[in-house]
Symmetry: C2
Subunit: 426 residues, 2 copies
Amino acid sequence: MLDDALSNEILAAVDAGFDKQVSYTRDLVRFPSLRGQEHTAQDFVFESLRERGLAMDRWAIDVADIERHPGFSPVKVDYTNAINVVGTHRPREEKGRSLILNGHIDVVPEGPYEMWSRHPFDPHVEGDWMYGRGAADMKAGVAANVFALDALHALGYRPAARVHVQSVTEEECTGNGALSCLVRGYKADAAIIPEPEDDMLVRANVGVLWFRVHVKGVPVHVRDAGAGANSIEASFPIISALRRLEEEWNQEKSGQKYFDELDHPINFNVGKIAGGDWASSVPSWCSFDCRISIFPGWNPAEKAREIEACITAAANESPFLSNNPPKVEWNGFFAEGYVLEEGSDAELTLGRAHAKSYGASLETQVTPGYLDGRVFVLYGDCPCLVYGPYSENIHAFDERVSLSSVKRVTGTIALFVAEWCGLERL
Amino acid sequence: MLDDALSNEILAAVDAGFDKQVSYTRDLVRFPSLRGQEHTAQDFVFESLRERGLAMDRWAIDVADIERHPGFSPVKVDYTNAINVVGTHRPREEKGRSLILNGHIDVVPEGPYEMWSRHPFDPHVEGDWMYGRGAADMKAGVAANVFALDALHALGYRPAARVHVQSVTEEECTGNGALSCLVRGYKADAAIIPEPEDDMLVRANVGVLWFRVHVKGVPVHVRDAGAGANSIEASFPIISALRRLEEEWNQEKSGQKYFDELDHPINFNVGKIAGGDWASSVPSWCSFDCRISIFPGWNPAEKAREIEACITAAANESPFLSNNPPKVEWNGFFAEGYVLEEGSDAELTLGRAHAKSYGASLETQVTPGYLDGRVFVLYGDCPCLVYGPYSENIHAFDERVSLSSVKRVTGTIALFVAEWCGLERL
């Protein structure tokens, strides 16, 4: 337990450093760290951690290193620039418990610029809000990890245990970034990921599957349209069948601890589509990208087979598709969900830190989206505290994060480090 | 009426030149003259006509020249390389009737290469077939125009009337290439377009409209999928509504001379779709490209309003779309259909030439696809004979044209020129 005076000093130091923290966050948001182009932002993070005296490690994810791990997700892109960055602090003497402070640098596509009030990569602050793609999800969190340690440093302290500050790629599509850190050997007694979780701790979290469905048509001149099968329209009943599968899976929520209270824990999404080449040619191809979630404990490979069976059954309803079966390509998330067991020391420590920073008790929630937390909990034997600031419109337009919330989250993390790791003088 | 001996000489000359004609056609097919990149093929045609001693004209379509013409189709692309080529023959003395030999150089997209048996722009001949994108539609026709004149030339003759050999762009999307020739002043007593019409003459032809529908969604993280509207799935009921409109329009065929015997003269096609950016984000946009035909006599602007009303009515069925109405963009064909009046001198002349070349009488057909013939018939006061070789798989994979049919068509054209224009000695 931290004494009250030190706690107050730490929170005051977070407050004192917050202008710099906001400026650092804006610098991060300016990097358009979309998938495949995270590396420039990662080099910035690398420099900023190196300047702080951490021992640096930087590598590109190598599929060969992780592809046999049960947490691996299939990947169809080049990883040459999928750079992970880890800065490690080692104390003079290991007195406390080790910790990983993790965040992801990748952001989801910004969509059409005209639907944003301002340019998505031109972060701006208005009142309590910072706007920009990735401001909430989760560059504010990456910065919070760094500035929590800075606050301790400003008071003449550093952690009395090993701390790894991780900035990873691929959280929005495969989770292979965090997995690559684990396989490289990064382990600790606890982990924190300041994802935008509205000031709450994530108790449980779905798994996620990504897949692309390829539908072929029989192209003809539109004057003979009756002779061809339109690959775009042939895709509709397949999407409808997947919507029915989503409802079936939701009906299994009653057996799922933590999820049974949610209205609609399993969400299917068709997020991208492309097909055909010419208005006057019956389209010969159509591909669409899907995402669906699964309950913790459900096996991705088993559920993948159910999805394939669902698509085959839908195709068999159509004379054309039954002879031209769609192909399913597993091209991303192939991830189990997880449950953070109640009552761990790490959670209790977070609860105390949160109570001090917020003046309110820590609440938990269940999230129906993928989180890298599963890597730590399922494969690292490590309680992972996914806990972070209040936000709006993540993955949408005018994404924004509450700066007062970010400051309190940073205070919580700093207090957590001080208690969990202990402190030593610089 | 041509005498039989001369007719036989002309057909023999076509036969003698046919190897060269096939070689020229292959050269043409090698140019990937997709929309926006027709110019290299056009420069080849220009050179080949110039070498033959024609007076050459070559220009880029200027929208300002044609946009107030009632036959104009709206255009969303740059026309810098939309080059038209016309070679003109003028006789020493105008004795016969003038003629336009027209063809289009543009081809439709080839689609995924893996669906072709061979590379689409690597023409090859197998038995009676020449394969390749554009081989049938309509580079064989462009070549037939050139080699019909060559056959006469080989016999020491040339037409005794003005002949314009036109190679135009934009036939597959707007018809603005042929229109630009008309507006530039090219007129004649008859025109021939050797489109792939299976050895028949086109009696009547639908008009065509192109449009793109833009559907906006409300993007959110898929974990809140219920809060967003999926722009991809919101597009499905609009496409279904357009299919119902297609059926309604088909039911009006009974009043349409020549079309009432066709099963399904009006064809709607959704030919291209694109939407969304990320599997795990509810897509915020989806656009799809459509094509529908209209009966001759139907006004494009009126029918465009019907289409817009159909889309609005479908949108009003959905709470989301009624507040976020789709936008319709008219981005191509805005073209009326036409009927070739029976009994013209031009048609009778073609009938005689065909009978001689084929040993069979000329049949006519009605085509449910756009043809540049409408420019001549509707706006040029010129009987236009759309008549050409047997083909398979145009706008599809392994497009192919029958070479024996091409040879006979070339013979027909040569005989037509000899009778219609008359001949003078070189």
